[in-house]
Amino acid sequence: MTTQQEFALKQSQQYKNANFSVCLSFALTLLFLFNAYDFAQGTWNFVWGIVTAAYFVISILQGAIALLLKKDLLTYGAIQKRTRLLSAVQLLSLFAGNLFTAAFAFRMLKKKDSIEYTLAYYMFLTQFLVFAISLFNLFKPYVSNLFMPAMILLIFAMVIELFLVIILAKTDVEQGVKPLLKWLGIIVFLTGLTGNVFGLILGYSLVMKSRSNDASTIDKWNQFWMSMTNNFTAMLGFLFVFLMLAISIASYGTFVSSFATENDYGALLLEPSLAHPFGTDNFGRDVFSRIVFGARISLVVGLLTTLIPLVIGGFLGAISGYYQKSIDNIIMRCLDVLYAVPGILLAIAIIAAFGSSTFNLIIALSVGSIPTYARTMRANVLIVSNLEFVEAAKALGENEWKIIFKQIVPNAFAPMIVKASLTIGSAVIATSSLSFLGLGVEPHIPEWGNILKIGSMYLETNPHLAIFPGIAIILLVLSFNFLGDGLRDALDPKLDS
């Protein structure tokens, strides 16, 4: 292997992506195989067996594609058409629910990596998953009144997105955006308002590129999103977070809330089936619907408990970083006191004093994380406020508040974004932990920690009641962590080289 060949292999993002997909796909196959075999009775479960077989075939195919890719890169230095065609077959794996291989297949279909194309197919994948998850409602005794119109809307959005994916696969946006694309961008932006945030980003990108003449803005945008879209795990993080957001909005139309909240004594503690994919709990409520409805609360609480301390801590940090000495001392010493109490304990103390409710939970968790944000902001403001442009603004006699919030804060904000995305995950964990202890969200509200609390009582007889909500929490937290790592790589200038 010459160094040149080695370099081609190392540089190829597609090759990395292929290997990663093979690993994940195999891991899922093993997991399903483990589920398919009943250790106690030594029998095989038919449904799980079929799923396992399907994933096994997909994994083998993916492995073959990865090998072909390696051969292509080593012999020709570029990916051949034959390999791309073979990976197009892998698109079918979407129907088995294997996102990793499907996303990879979409990626292979376009020769040159493009931000818009990547965003478009991830948007399509999100919409497809929302549609597929909503379809499970068909097995229920009845569906909601809005089910048909909502599903038709979802199909309509999917068709538009598929159309956009095909167009974007054939065009090169860097050559200039055609008027048709601009109008499509506006439509996609509107569908993005249904919770599929990929649409918002894609629409904004298309419209901005068609209108803006400022090369530096476009270049910055491109650099950031190129780094993000190349990062497979970060995109998976985006995918899951946006999926949760989209499904919590779509669930207003497609899911029946009484299945999740009202007791049904005819269906207590049922095993998982098509009508109840995750079984039912001790009040006969459908755990699947409860988890879908719980996504709303977990997301809202997670986002708010990150946003509130971000704003307050950022403000305090900026002030103490800029004004130094006495103000700095007073603010930071007060925050040291907050910092000395662990977040969860502080939250427990606040909830003990003011009672447990969602509002108190949000306040309690926010107060605890103000100091970390203030410290991060202060450190950055200290660096930025010594730069030349701040001195220039001071020399021009600019108002001090304007200097802080127009010049310094925007330039010191990137680490705050990274910090926020890495701590949303722990906020989600803290929320569900407190609910699990009975201190968080009110017990009748379907929140993931509450669902798990019920599940933990039936660990011996119905372990799935505890396992599924836990997996939902882990996936959400993992996605935020992936996202945070991706953002750090994209925003941290230290790792640029």
């Binding site: 662990p342 969860i344 004093a353 699990f436 202890l437 993992l478």
Partner: protein
């Protein structure tokens, strides 16, 4: 020998004064110093009030300033500042506002006049005689030091300690820690005090008569004003005498003393497990960067960061206890096997973050010049990695350990609930359902104290390990 000793004796008071002048610039230390030397300060304050107080300094300064303002120099300054203002406005293409111009010029000239007046006064050897500089001058006098040495011994110890960089650093951190601990107690007490719920009604029930409630409030001192209760609470925390809990009539200090050891044991075991597992993983990941090992270890670490403790605990119980009957599901003090699962569950997050931190901090130093030199000298890769890279990468790792230890003690409540351990965390959670204010206050504050002490130790180790900080301390 003798002369050396004499010299030292002569130097000592001056060193006291130098340290003193350094200390009074920091507000917190200033008050601490006054507090420590209170007997001495009371006497000198009296002397100062009686003898030196008629300070004519302010008066003289005003007079001198007036004199400057009437001199022709002052008009020259005004003209110059007005010119400056005009050229500035001209440069920015703005119209000239006469009034504003005059005001600004006068303001700047006044500042300069005051400075000049001060300079003139100091030429004539008249000094601003506030109390603190006055006391500093006294310290220069050996006789004063000798007389006041016994009553002010604490203050002199403080002044002496302040002159050694390492000792001063430890002292500063200690003072900060004490400040934080007391503030935490006040803060948590205040939160609980302003709770809208009425403990008497909660515990005695709605049916209790007014007299019964008053009796309850009187028994626990709840009828006292805020400040008295606060002082009682802080005193109770410092003297480990916290009275009795609202329900069950248990001695709070005794039950905390019973429950704290197990919480600490589990936390320390988790910490040890995390360090032993995570650092080798971090080293391997950094050494084989971007290999399959690196990717899988970091992926597992990220999953470890994302698993909620209680879910992991439940899954462990489900598999190890219910399905495979390997380990007991709940903790019992006599069975050491039963501690394995709680330790693993509590340590997972810490292991993951230490592994990630080790990897990234080794990667940060691995391209430094001294590593290249070590390679060029022909050292073995293993030796370079452990003796050169890891040693220098250790500092951020220790910081993370210190920070995470606090989070672990806080998160212990959840793990203890899952495994039914009667530790401090589950004590607080149980008490908060009542809510039993004194118990919650004591539990939270003692955990915060432990964390502050651990952080203090970490900071001191950090200063000892880090040559950069050591040299910084010496030069300052």
């Amino acid at each position: 020998m003798l002369s050396e000793k004499g010299q030292k004796n002569e130097q000592t008071p001056f060193r006291f004064e130098k340290n003193y002048l350094g200390i009074i610039k920091q507000p917190l230390f200033k008050y601490l110093l006054i507090l420590l030397g209170l007997p001495v300060h009371m006497v000198t304050w009296l002397i100062y009030q009686l003898k030196y107080k008629p300070s004519s300094y302010g008066h003289l300064l005003q007079k001198e300033k007036k004199a400057v303002q009437q001199s022709p120099v002052y008009d020259q300054w005004i003209d110059r500042y007005e010119d400056q203002y005009k050229s500035k406005m001209h440069y920015f293409n703005k119209s000239i506002d006469e009034q504003e111009m005059r005001r600004e010029a006068r303001k700047l000239a006044d500042i300069q006049a005051e400075e000049m007046a001060k300079a003139r006064l100091s030429e004539e050897n008249i000094k601003d005689a506030a109390y603190l500089p006055f006391f500093g001058e006294r310290l220069r006098n050996p006789a004063f030091v000798k007389v006041s040495f016994i009553p002010g011994i604490l203050m002199y110890l403080f002044l002496w300690g302040y002159s050694r960089p390492m000792l001063r650093y430890i002292l500063e951190r200690l003072v900060m820690t004490i400040f934080v601990i007391i503030s935490v107690a006040i803060f948590v007490f205040t939160i609980l005090y302003f709770s809208p719920s009425d403990p008497a009604a909660n515990i005695l029930g709605e049916a209790a008569t007014m007299e019964q409630r008053q009796e309850f409030n009187h028994q626990y001192g709840l009828d006292q004003p805020y400040l008295v209760q606060l002082a009682d609470a802080v005193k109770g925390i410092i003297t480990f005498d916290l009275g009795f809990s609202y329900t069950g009539n248990e001695n709070i200090a005794a039950s905390i003393a019973n429950k704290f050891p197990i919480t600490l044991i589990i936390a320390v075991c988790s910490l040890l497990m995390a360090v032993v597992v995570a650092i080798p993983i971090g080293i391997i990941s950094a050494a084989k960067r971007n290999s399959i090992w690196d990717y899988s270890f970091m992926f597992i670490a990220l999953i470890g960061l994302s698993i909620p403790n209680f879910w992991q605990g439940l899954v462990f119980i489900l598999n190890f206890s219910i399905k495979w009957h390997l380990l007991p599901a709940t903790y019992s003090p006599n069975d050491w096997l039963s501690i394995i699962m709680p330790v693993m569950v509590l340590g997972t997050g810490l292991t993951a973050s230490i592994a990630r931190m080790t990897r990234s901090s080794i990667l940060e130093v691995i391209n430094e010049d001294y590593i290249v030199t070590a390679k060029a000298k022909g050292l073995k890769p293993r030796k370079i990695l452990i003796q050169h890279a890891l040693r220098n990468a250790m500092i951020p790792i220790i910081t993370v350990i210190g920070l995470q230890f606090g989070g672990m003690l806080g998160g212990a409540a959840v793990t203890e609930k899952v495994f039914n351990i009667s530790g401090l965390g589950s004590f607080i959670v149980d008490k908060q359902f009542v809510p039993d204010t004194p118990s919650i206050l004591a539990g939270v504050v003692y955990i915060a104290i432990t964390i502050s002490l651990v952080n203090l130790v970490v900071d001191i180790i950090y200063a000892l390990l880090n040559p950069r900080i050591r040299s910084q301390m010496k030069s300052s």
